[in-house]
């Protein structure tokens, strides 16, 4: 399209790909190189959805998908925190306990002590942050592996949760409280949903356009306006369809919007700020990051704090959705699901690779399987087996879509 060759396209070994078709070829190439974190998972997701829909026609019904979105939010937010710790090649095994404790704290302060709901929530969130800060201190000072620190945290905060709930065991959050209402019954009005969809697409186009103009001004190659328009139109179509389809029953839940909003914010922070860069650098090569003058300890601290804070937020939302907290809140498979969501979404356990979107996609895979199978009348034993097999299927599809990751080093 440009007659002049841009600065970044001058090497004669580069195959030039222009326009929409070029972009598509590019995407395929990058996916084969193991480079596109989330696209292959999306493919896996489509496969699972098809299978589950064939097994049970209710699965893709609007009502069920609305449930799916709402059920994804709490653990999804926890998974978002896990993505951050995995990016720096650490782990947090205690997110379940912290989420349970946080729910318990809200329950006790709000219901038993009668504090205003915002104060109870703030207390729980601050507590989450303090826990993360504590982990970071232990990690930075003593070099104890985060696996062990957070394993100790898992036990200790479970104990604390039991202790906080010791007089009651289980506390109901009132159905008419704002918190429970938000998690169960608050849906975005249709007009607003459509407006948001249009705004998102317009935002994508504008930011892309501005960026492309700047690049062109600087003599660099840039996406053509056609490309940008096609991309934005595609996004618009998808969003409008989603809004319309979910709107056939209850619509888009505010809790899900909150989750997606947090994913977008984290995506911005991770990809467009110095802090995010440093996170990837620390995960890729701590020593190189340190030598580049990055305050590695501060990065670890920020990440542990974020993760525990997100766990606390997730715990509050889980409590709100159940309208209760009890001794087993945050137990069961919350931990495993949160970590698995991040990993299935394409975040590496070895650090430095992954995006905020992996939490979103990963949790949707997991909840789809779980929801799809609860709709089938299966024996528990069979349900466990099928869950395992379908999960594997999703990820095998994902892995086959990329070129074998092992040949690019550790997966």
């Amino acid at each position: 399209m440009n007659t002049m060759v841009t600065t970044d396209r001058q090497d004669e070994r580069l195959q030039s790909r222009v326009g929409v078709r070029g972009a598509i070829t590019d995407v395929i190439e990058r996916a084969r190189g193991g480079d596109l974190g989330v696209i292959p998972v999306a493919v896996g997701l489509v496969v699972i959805w098809s299978v589950l829909q064939v097994l049970n026609p209710v699965f893709l019904s609007s009502a069920n998908l609305v449930n799916l979105t709402l059920e994804s939010a709490a653990v999804g937010i926890i998974a978002l925190g896990i993505v951050c710790v995995l990016l720096v090649a650490q782990i947090d095994l205690s997110v379940g306990s912290v989420s349970g404790l946080s729910g318990a704290v809200v329950g006790v302060l709000f219901v038993l002590q009668g504090l205003p709901i915002w104060a109870a929530i703030a207390a729980a969130v601050v507590m989450g942050a303090v826990i993360g800060w504590l982990y970071a201190q232990l990690f930075n000072r003593f070099g104890v592996p985060s696996f062990v620190i957070t394993l100790a945290g898992l036990l200790a905060f479970l104990g604390l949760q039991l202790y906080v709930l010791r007089t009651r065991g289980s506390i109901n959050l009132p159905f008419d409280s704002g918190l429970v209402h938000f998690a169960q019954l608050a849906f975005v009005p249709a007009w607003l949903s459509y407006t948001l969809a249009v705004l998102a697409a317009a935002g994508l186009f504008t930011s892309g356009y501005v960026h492309a103009r700047e690049r062109r001004k600087a003599g660099l190659s840039a996406n053509s306006v056609t490309m940008l328009a096609v991309r934005s139109a595609a996004l618009l179509a998808v969003l409008v369809f989603v809004v319309w389809y979910l709107g056939r029953t209850r619509g888009v839940g505010w809790m899900f919007v909150l989750f997606v909003g947090m994913v977008l914010v984290m995506h911005y922070l991770l990809s467009r700020t110095r802090w995010g860069r440093s996170v990837y650098a620390v995960g890729g090569n701590v020593e190189a990051a340190r030598r580049a003058g990055i305050n590695v300890k501060a990065i670890y601290t920020s990440v542990f704090v974020l993760c525990s804070t997100f766990a606390a937020v997730g715990g509050i939302l889980a409590a709100a959705r159940l309208a209760a907290v009890n001794q087993s809140s945050g137990g069961g498979d919350v931990n495993l699901n949160a970590i698995a969501a991040a990993v299935i979404g394409g975040t590496s356990l070895f650090g430095g690779r992954g995006t905020a979107f992996s939490a979103l996609l990963g949790i949707i895979v997991i909840q789809s399987i779980s929801s799809g199978l609860t709709l089938l009348n299966l024996d528990s034993s069979i349900r466990f087996v099928v869950t395992g097999v379908v999960l594997l299927l999703a990820v095998v599809v994902d892995s086959v879509a990329r070129k074998s990751r092992t040949s690019h080093g550790r997966a």
Partner: protein, 276 residues
């Protein structure tokens, strides 16, 4: 420009960096014992020595990677401690490490600007990319794209990235640990040019190299390390390559001299053969 040059002239020969009695152990190995070194502003000090002589260990001590076991470091005539790489950056010491220390998962631009990104809260990708191309062109780099992860670059391309990295910011002292080891002939020439430009701007340059030709070409003084100890400091003008090699290996009769001799006799023989 002229003001810079004046500044340079004023500062030339002032010792910016000076080490006294530096020692460093790793377990049972004494990597450095009682090492002294002076780096005047506007000078290129070559540090040479055999493999394992302790050159890179010295570099790491200067750039805050390892703390020394004992000894003092003076910077701009003040005694300083350099406990972290960040502290070295703050003093104005920029380093190209032998092992490069790049993040393989990040692309070229991201590595170049790591820790000194333009506009921290809303990264200015366009400016960073433009400046990356400028820097790389200046070093004659042959990198097809700056948006690929460093993991996929060739050895020399990586080294170029590491060198370019150290030029961002405004260092007072620049330390190059075998900067041209992996570079092609053209790139090596550019880096030597660069070292000369840095000297002209009044920076103190520490250059480590095994290439005596390069050392002779750009260095003002040569400091020799042998088995972790000082083994002489020579002004380049006054010393021959053979003398430096003798100081490095600890003997005038060494593998290099033997090889040279042999190849001379062979050439002589070949000539005889030809003439016969």
């Amino acid at each position: 420009m002229t003001s810079t040059q004046q500044a340079a002239e004023r500062r030339t020969d002032e010792v910016v960096l000076s080490l006294r009695g530096i020692s460093k152990h790793f377990g049972a190995v004494a990597a450095l014992t009682d090492v002294d070194l002076d780096v005047p502003a506007g000078h290129v000090v070559a540090v040479v020595g055999d493999n394992g002589a302790g050159k890179s260990t010295l570099v790491k001590i200067l750039s805050g990677v390892h703390p020394p076991d004992s000894g003092t470091i003076c910077f701009d005539s003040k005694e300083v401690s350099i406990p972290t790489p960040a502290a070295a950056h703050r003093l104005g010491i920029a380093t190209v490490f032998q092992d490069l220390a790049l993040c393989e998962n990040l692309n070229v631009i991201q590595n170049l600007f790591l820790g000194q990104e333009v506009r921290p809260l809303r990264l200015n990708e366009v400016e960073m990319e433009t400046r990356s191309w400028d820097l790389l062109r200046q070093l004659s780099a042959k990198i097809p794209s700056v948006r690929v992860p460093v993991a996929s670059l060739s050895g020399g391309q990586r080294q170029t990235v590491a060198i370019a990295r150290s030029l961002l910011g405004e260092p007072k002292v620049i330390i190059l640990d075998e900067p041209t080891a992996a570079l092609g002939v053209a790139q090596t020439a550019e880096v030597l040019n660069l070292v000369e430009r840095l000297r002209e701007h009044g920076l103190g340059v520490v250059m480590i190299s095994h290439n005596m030709a390069d050392v002779q070409a750009v260095a003002d003084t040569v400091a020799v390390l042998r088995l972790g100890r000082n083994n002489g400091v020579f002004p380049v003008a006054d010393v021959s390559t053979e003398d430096i090699i003798a100081a490095i290996t600890g003997a005038t009769d060494n593998a290099v001299s033997q090889r040279n001799e042999r190849s001379q006799t062979r050439q002589a023989r070949d000539k005889e053969g030809l003439s016969s």
